[in-house]
Symmetry: D4
Subunit: 218 residues, 8 copies
């Protein structure tokens, strides 16, 4: 009787499997990946550091490691990229989270436009990129510090904005609580928020939205 519920998530073909690598040993990751490999799906492991990735790759050389995003990926059977998701960051130190989002979005079959390092301390950088950002169906804004970039972008684009606070900062930054609170209280409408550093979650949401734009799919 519950099989129908089951299919809701697990039999939805085409969606890649995503393994949260933090707090798992290399051995555990290998085990989970091997159990999955039968399925005709791309595979993504997030939050894997360099050392752990090497241990996994020794046994599973078909996985590619990307150090910036800290991900292990098997792109075979990846979905064709459709639509457009813009990923906008405030500073260079938001890059790890941004690339986690980008890698996830690409594997989930989305075209990604990267607009990095356009924080409001030098707002002209953002304006120069606005036309590019406005072509996207959905915009992911990633920012540490005070996260003001989110409100500025939200006021300038006409698309849903998914905000990701990052833990980049010190003192009263409170490990990311400050940009999180800032984003939840944005004076611009059209912004929703995910957990601190959750690039994966933002991309998952953005992908769902981007795929609603059916006519742009191949």
């Amino acid at each position: 009787a519950y099989a129908k519920i089951d299919t809701a998530r697990t039999q939805r073909t085409g969606y890649p499997e995503v393994i949260y690598g933090a707090g798992k040993t290399a051995q555990q990751i290998v085990g989970i990946v091997q159990a999955m490999e039968k399925r005709q799906q791309p595979i993504l492991v997030t939050r894997v550091d360099l050392e752990k990735s090497a241990a996994v790759q020794e046994i599973l050389p078909e996985l590619a490691y990307d150090q910036t995003s800290q991900t292990l990926v098997r792109t075979a059977h990846a979905l064709p990229a459709v639509g457009n998701i813009a990923i906008v960051t405030a500073g260079t130190s938001d890059m790890r989270v941004a690339e986690e989002a980008a890698v996830t979005a690409e594997l989930f079959g989305n075209q990604v436009t990267r607009v990095y390092d356009v924080g409001v301390a030098g707002i002209h950088r953002l304006f120069a990129k606005l036309p590019l950002i406005r072509q996207a169906n959905v915009v992911i804004v990633i920012a540490g510090m005070e996260g003001a970039l989110t409100s500025v972008v939200g006021g300038l684009v006409d698309r849903p904005v998914i905000a990701v606070p990052t833990s980049v900062g010190y003192g009263t930054h409170l490990n990311g609580l400050t940009p999180l609170l800032s984003m939840l209280n944005s004076c611009s409408a059209g912004i929703s928020v995910v957990n601190i550093d959750n690039g994966f979650g933002a991309a998952y949401n953005a992908s769902m939205i981007n795929h609603l734009v059916k006519e742009e799919q191949p």
Copy 2:
């Protein structure tokens, strides 16, 4: 030179104007509405209590007051309703926030499916409504207490979920911080979050997403 930026939000015809009524006097609300009335647009004032609404209506009888959502609305020139947004609540006390979202969504030109009072304490209530919820392009989940409904819905539907924590609760509920934190840490993917009690913001987001589904528009 900045006129182009200006148009991004203010010259975008068709979008209703929304006035945040809390902390404004009846007189101030009347003033703002009168300044707007020239434009061919629907008008929405949120967070207006009964007494204040009466004072406004004396001067502006064309505004209709809805006590549940605490809104004043002029529906003239409203957009035709397209697509579908499901609004799901955990308990009856989440109704004010839910109706704020519903009134907003309808005025912004969206069809709304209300699924109220299906909290997880009696989870069969939710399962009975699942087919209905799954027809929506985007789902708004509104919950106080611990907000667990969000995760359960997120795990059962294949559409973006926008979560709204409500301030309904006591003690360690911390005026809504508890469901907010709960929603940000959901074990289900595909969930993004707006501020506590922010029914308007959830509807604004959902409307943007729902309107991306172009072929369903009239």
Copy 3:
């Protein structure tokens, strides 16, 4: 005059001694265990990592180490197992806490039913195990993330539920405060809560409750 009070806890024969191993040196643990060994009781040391356990076992080889639960145990004189306690977890990363509870409960003379990895992101997993869970006299629910599993289980079973939040998560998870708050505000009745990661405490409570069911004792 206070001897009577004393007996309330210490002369209650049969109850195993439990040592909290965190922050104690191997040497201190050995000392305490040796002072106890005269008594005809099982012995349990919690929160002992692999290295420390090896140092203890060198001197006390009669203690068995279990790496998942991070416990050292001497099962001699263990109580016969009666009744039934169900231990339900949301994810695989809750396992350390779950096994700390399980080892404690078993040593205290309770039958334990393990139902692991049935979090609400895939709720069908829980439903498949419900008949098993419903056979228990008391249910321990262990969850990190947002802890929503607790409310779902609480709404489906008719027995006392003891909830254990775990520190598994990141960002706004706040090292377990989020599921703790969530559990304290559950919309389901019949739930009480212990400290973050306190598998031992949950089992201690559950054992007391399970032993109240006298006719099921041998």
Copy 4:
């Protein structure tokens, strides 16, 4: 298919219905009670102030109001009282919460032993009552201030203790967060905790536990 789940809570005959009266109008309470009255069950409405109770009683004179516990009760069809639950409080200002627990427990078919005003500032008061407390199957400890009574009771009795922090205090009391944190970190084992001021929840839990002691039921 889900009917079985439904019955888990709603068709369980004999259990009284409980309505949370805070934030409901007298009219809404009357409506809910009238919808229930067909069922052969006792009825309990919690968190009703004097004024609201009078308005309800005008229409439903069969409900009795108790000002200390702020409850409206229809005791017809109440369950026969079995076993024993001790309700222990630190101070007189914890009385509202204690009586909410007592009224709930009695309506759910439990014998209740009230031991009030035995806080640790004058610990001899507690010792004088210990023999009485030890006769209970389960002990509810209710305390504001720093909640130290919980740990002292927990160390002296051999039964499950359910702790209820109250919002009685000022300054760093933080509306009850201080005794809540204190209770969650008790040095005594066998204590679990419910939300601040949640007398109802403690009684619900205690009743479940007390009814497990089958042979003491009539």
Copy 5:
């Protein structure tokens, strides 16, 4: 011996006396003002509501009340206005704090440029006013919500910025903690922060800075 220290603040002629009116009775305010009136100085009482101001004015009709800033002022002997302080606000609800700052700054002998309602949700409003803002020696930025305006202004002007978070907001706004944290973590340099709603304090600082620009003084 300490007389020298004394003069540092109290014998500095010309500086207006400022009375914090909140929590003082009309009678107490009258008493303090009367004790001061001998001195040849302007007088300022902040945080006085309409009712209290009327009671004070009955006895001291020489004080003028301003309802927006909630201040009572005697402008006799006011210092001549020099230099320029820009006061920039995000929204209309920040007006009370802004006018508290403006009234203070003017009484302390500063020219004030008001630039209100230029929040980043419609950033073109700010750009239109930039030339005006850039003429000031020091800029006060006042914002509720997420306070993003501060960072944008800080990145565009070359003068010290004093930021004032306001308590305007709801939910996770935490009565102004969110914009405070945001301002302390600004990605723009040159920003320092005062307490929530502290318009007086910002003006006091700004006045000190503005008066350092000696050649612009008359």
Copy 6:
């Protein structure tokens, strides 16, 4: 002119110098001690770990290291011990803080009575020691977990109690905030509190109080 102020603290002969060793290098500690050695005073360095102490002792062998209290001491010229300070702890893990207090108190010329490991989980242990504790002029109570011992002692003795919360605990213990809050809200009168783990501060206070009892001094 300020010399009089100076003497208030620095020329008060007989009081030992105390150096806070945390965050200072061995070299810095040596430098400060050498600058002091001319004065005829005992010397105390707190918060020095084993390794750092060895480096200091190489150059200053006249300092004795105590590993439990993590202190380096030169007892030459120590004050004669007078009166009596009782130091009472809840558990063995509070020992480092307790010994920091004891070493400080002894060096400051106080007799110290140690009453360790008498936490309320087994309250009879405390009662057995009460006559001893009641002989002191002032009582220091040191406790982690929920700090309930403080309230129990406060209710049983007739002397000032100085409470020291310790950082011993986990989860909602919040690194000592829980016992701190508990102690500040004690239902017993006569308790004042110092910072978490501040054994030194408690002893400094207690010594001041103990020395007020003049006739007990030699």
Copy 7:
């Protein structure tokens, strides 16, 4: 057997009874006072507002009401005043707490020296009063805002300082948490802290200390 414990607090003749009036009705206060009046002791009721005091005095005209300290007192049988306690405040708004402390201390048999309104914004005021403060056996420092006065006093006197944070402030003052934290982290030694606004508690402590100075007693 426990009678001895009992006497520790209740049979200690001479100590006045103190009733915490907040949250008690006039009727309850009357009841408690009447039960006490047989004993030959002074009586003190704290936290009683004007209206409630009038209701109590109608029945018990022998109680005197003091509006500043919000206390009701019967001074008959008061203890003779000995020694000296200095009560030092930062501002005039700390007066209610200061007078609660003063009234308590006087009723408990202590001479009190009031030194009010000497906050550090004008530090010469404090220096002028130092000789007076230094004559006390113990000093109570009461301050709102940032509580800096405590550290300055602590560095200038050679007696135990008991610090009382007050709830006077706004915004980040957090209802007194800011001065509380400030006082707990004072760079001056010899300071211990009681709960926010707890004038009574400070006086209770100070009285205990002041009475240790035996030779100064009559």
Copy 8:
């Protein structure tokens, strides 16, 4: 069109570039510095530890490393020093932050007066230095613990004070939140605050203010 905005910050000649070194690899720092070296400007890299500095200096030997301030500096083209900024610290452990401020201020063309280790525990140290401090145009006060020094200085000088809380402390110090809150609530006027440990930010602000004093420039 946006070039004009750009110039606001980047074409402002003379202002040194500042690189935030924390979280950047030596390689990344080298890359950024090399890209800058064409410009005729001094270069400053903050928050560089010893090891990282050595790696940078191997490639860029023209950078000088200062271990106290943890900065790498190229002073070529430094601005001539004008005016005067006083940097005042409470304790020796605030030195890293103070020197970060001093190095920044000097590179930005300001004369700096260092007044270190004058905390209020021994307030005579501050008074001895007051004449020196009063010569500055702007005062930076840096303090950990409870930050009381800020209020004392603010009450004694007639210039803008920029306060920097430091993370030096333990327990309830909360990594610097305590002095931050203390500084924001100062009873002295004329104080504004920057983020915890943000010596750079304080110096940037102070430099802006100091340069407003035009006639004192060479």
